[in-house]
């Protein structure tokens, strides 16, 4: 039962970055030829130029672990930590530069929902085709066809081209096909980031079923709740290396979100822009911090008996009435407490953003949050058009540490259970 089905040793993946080709996505024969010609005429110069222009980049390095049959393992890490590279290696899409891996059993990877779906084909045709792509045989698909259609709830539209589907239907159909694979090892990347809440729940349920059925699941997500719900073990990747491998989910997640050193947190109670980060003409943030009424930065930990403000210093070159800016606040466990936007109130009360530099602030009322560490993330974008700062996608973030000042009551001295600790009015009515 508990023999390793995945064994990875020393795994590494190297990419060559070409600086000279910035702005160009692809190599062109034209450039290669012209470089060669240049090389003939200026051999000495070219060598120097060449060594400068390519740089090795290890997306993954010296990663090793074993996974037993039936385990559900979460993989977490910041963007660029190597999660997707690891999944791509495990699903054999790309080849490792170093090391080896052993996979025992049929691997199905779901790096994207609906790969190979063709908009012109009907739902029925796409089920067959997508199933084949994911490694199902024709007979297997035939056998499960009704189940898939049931799960996706698209019976009525089976013979409609999927280009006429709503995006929800499209997603459901795509996931349904994938969910009915019966691999020994299932590799899933961030699939749940799309779709509505009900759909996400359904997907998670299905994945839970898969892993409790004795199959192995590897799951990458930025959603810590999903990881906690599904996984029994978690791998934390940091800049291409395996930092932690532990069944103690809570601690690893806390490490990941907040860093392991408490002292560190004070230093991270504000966010300052580094060169060129998040540059855009609508809202380029410079600095974000927590301050008091007068804009003086608060030292962490902060007492909870006064109002706090989230100050966002930013610059705008283009004004757009659809600009919404705010923050998301997360608990230590990674759970979202709330979102707040400058456009939450009636339109006449919205702060008017002007061209140039300005500071936007949002109040966190006294005695709303409980004691503990919170992570705040800048969120926002052009409403219904595009994200400028997408939640969970390495947006600017900083931390808030609350200690004390929860209440004036003599009975209430320490941290309470629960995410919030508001002091709400009570009275007697006869």
């Amino acid at each position: 039962m508990s023999s390793p089905v995945i064994r990875v040793e020393n795994l590494g993946k190297k990419y060559l970055l070409r600086h000279q080709q910035q702005g160009r996505r692809y190599k062109a024969l034209r450039d290669v030829l012209s470089d060669k010609v240049k090389a003939i005429f200026q051999i000495s110069n070219f060598k120097i130029q060449n060594s400068k222009s390519t740089e090795e980049f290890w997306a993954l390095r010296d990663v090793g672990f074993e996974i037993n049959q039936g385990e559900a393992v979460g993989i977490i890490g910041r963007n660029g930590a190597g999660k997707s590279t690891l999944l791509k290696l495990l699903s054999r899409i790309t080849q490792p530069s170093t090391g080896r891996m052993e996979l025992d059993g049929r691997v199905a990877s779901l790096l994207e929902v609906g790969t190979g779906f063709h908009p012109e084909l009907t739902g029925r045709e796409n089920i067959y085709f997508n199933g084949a792509i994911l490694g199902m045989g024709r007979l297997e698909i035939k056998r499960k066809f009704d189940e898939i259609v049931d799960f996706a709830e698209v019976e009525k539209f089976l013979d409609t081209p999927v280009k006429r589907y709503s995006s929800g239907m499209y997603m459901r159909l795509a996931f349904a096909v994938a969910a009915h694979l019966e691999p020994d090892i299932l590799v899933v990347d961030e699939v749940l980031a799309v779709g509505d809440a009900a759909f996400q729940k359904k997907c998670l349920g299905k994945m839970g079923e898969v892993s409790s059925g004795g199959r192995t699941v590897l799951f990458v997500s930025h959603q810590m709740n999903a990881i906690e719900q599904l996984c029994s073990r978690v791998l934390l990747l940091e800049s291409g290396r395996l930092k932690t491998d532990s069944p103690d989910l809570r601690n690893v997640i806390r490490d990941y979100l907040f860093g392991s050193e408490d002292a560190d947190i004070a230093a991270r109670s504000q966010w300052t822009r580094k060169d060129g980060q998040f540059d855009n003409s609508w809202f380029a943030p410079r600095r974000i911090y927590l301050g008091d009424q007068n804009g003086t930065a608060l030292a962490m930990p902060v007492s909870n008996d006064g109002d706090m403000w989230v100050y966002i210093e930013a610059e705008a070159a283009t004004l757009d009435p659809a600009l919404t800016i705010g923050y998301a606040i997360y608990s230590e466990g990674g759970g979202l407490l709330y979102w707040s936007y400058q456009t939450d109130s009636a339109p006449e009360d919205w702060p008017i953003i002007e061209r140039g530099r300005f500071t936007l602030r949002g109040r966190i009322p006294a005695r709303l949050l409980n004691e503990g560490v919170y992570r705040l993330e800048l969120i926002g974008g052009l409403h219904h058009r595009q994200w400028l700062f997408e939640p969970g996608k390495s947006a600017p973030q900083f931390f808030l540490n609350i200690q004390g000042g929860l209440s004036d009551s003599p009975l209430w001295a320490a941290k309470r259970p629960g995410l919030l600790a508001p002091v709400l009015p009570w009275s007697l009515s006869s």
Partner: protein, 272 residues
């Protein structure tokens, strides 16, 4: 279930076994592309009919009426169309196969399968167009009262050679196309150039004797002459020596194409 071991730098031994395992995907891919091709436009099939037909008409006018090329005792439209058949197949197969990887980039970066499946199935799509053209040929042969003889069976091996040529060159170009994105501008040029240097609009007997061996090295020359012979029953012209050389060349291209494809395949997902 056998254990799969992947090691850095080792080319996979199970590649060919995998290719066999993924044969269903190959069929599905071809099936999808055929469905899309004939579904997307109402004139999908009509297009497959019109293209060779219109080109044939133009060629007949230009080469027979204006240039007064010899017809070798065969109705000129049949002479042109029997060459148009393999040529169109080759040209479509080559360009479809060459672009197949890039146009399926999404699948390649998200799913593992032996990549050879993609250009191979693209050729199948070109093959359906070929079958439609065969039907037109049958109609034309009835119209001109040409009765086929046993030689018509020669079409089978000749189609096989065309297939192999298009596949060999196609996978080569497909792999180059992934690596160098501007290669796709070269492909239409190759196809167009090939049309002029192959005896599609004229009989190869117009080529001076001393150049024939050299001329026959172009694999499509042998195939086209063979098609004409098979269809009309008249050995218009056939250079066996040249044909043998070009056959060797076809195998070389195919082997080289597969070798290059396999060599670069590992990095496809990284660069595509």
């Amino acid at each position: 279930m056998s254990k799969l071991v992947i090691e850095a730098g080792k080319s996979e031994l199970h590649y060919w076994a995998d290719l066999w395992k993924y044969r269903e995907l190959f069929l599905f891919l071809a099936w999808r592309d055929i469905l899309v091709r004939y579904k997307q436009t109402v004139i999908g099939v009509l297009w497959a009919v019109l293209r060779p037909l219109l080109t044939t008409i133009v060629f007949v006018v230009v080469f027979s009426r204006l240039a007064k090329m010899p017809s070798e005792g065969v109705p000129y439209p049949i002479l042109v169309f029997s060459a148009m058949l393999p040529w169109q197949f080759f040209a479509t197969a080559l360009s479809e196969a060459s672009n197949s990887l890039v146009s399926n980039a999404n699948m390649i970066s998200k799913i593992y399968f032996p990549r050879l499946v993609v250009p191979a199935s693209a050729i199948i799509v070109a093959f359906t167009d070929f079958l439609i053209s065969l039907f037109i040929l049958a109609v034309m042969m009835i119209w001109y009262g040409i009765t086929p003889s046993w030689q018509l069976l020669l079409i089978l091996p000749l189609t096989g050679i065309t297939f192999l040529t298009a596949f060999g060159a196609g996978v080569w170009l497909a792999a180059l196309n992934v690596e160098y994105r501007d290669f796709r501008y070269v492909i239409p040029f190759i196809v167009q150039f090939g049309l002029y240097i192959s005896p599609v609009g004229f009989s190869s007997s117009v080529i001076p004797e001393k150049w024939r061996l050299l001329y026959s090295i172009n694999p499509m020359v042998g195939v086209i002459d063979g098609f004409r012979w098979a269809i009309t029953g008249k050995a218009v012209f056939f250079h066996w020596g040249g044909f043998a050389i070009s056959l060797c060349l076809v195998f070389l291209i195919a082997a080289g194409g597969i070798w290059y494809f396999r060599k670069t395949e590992r990095a496809f997902a990284d660069v595509i």
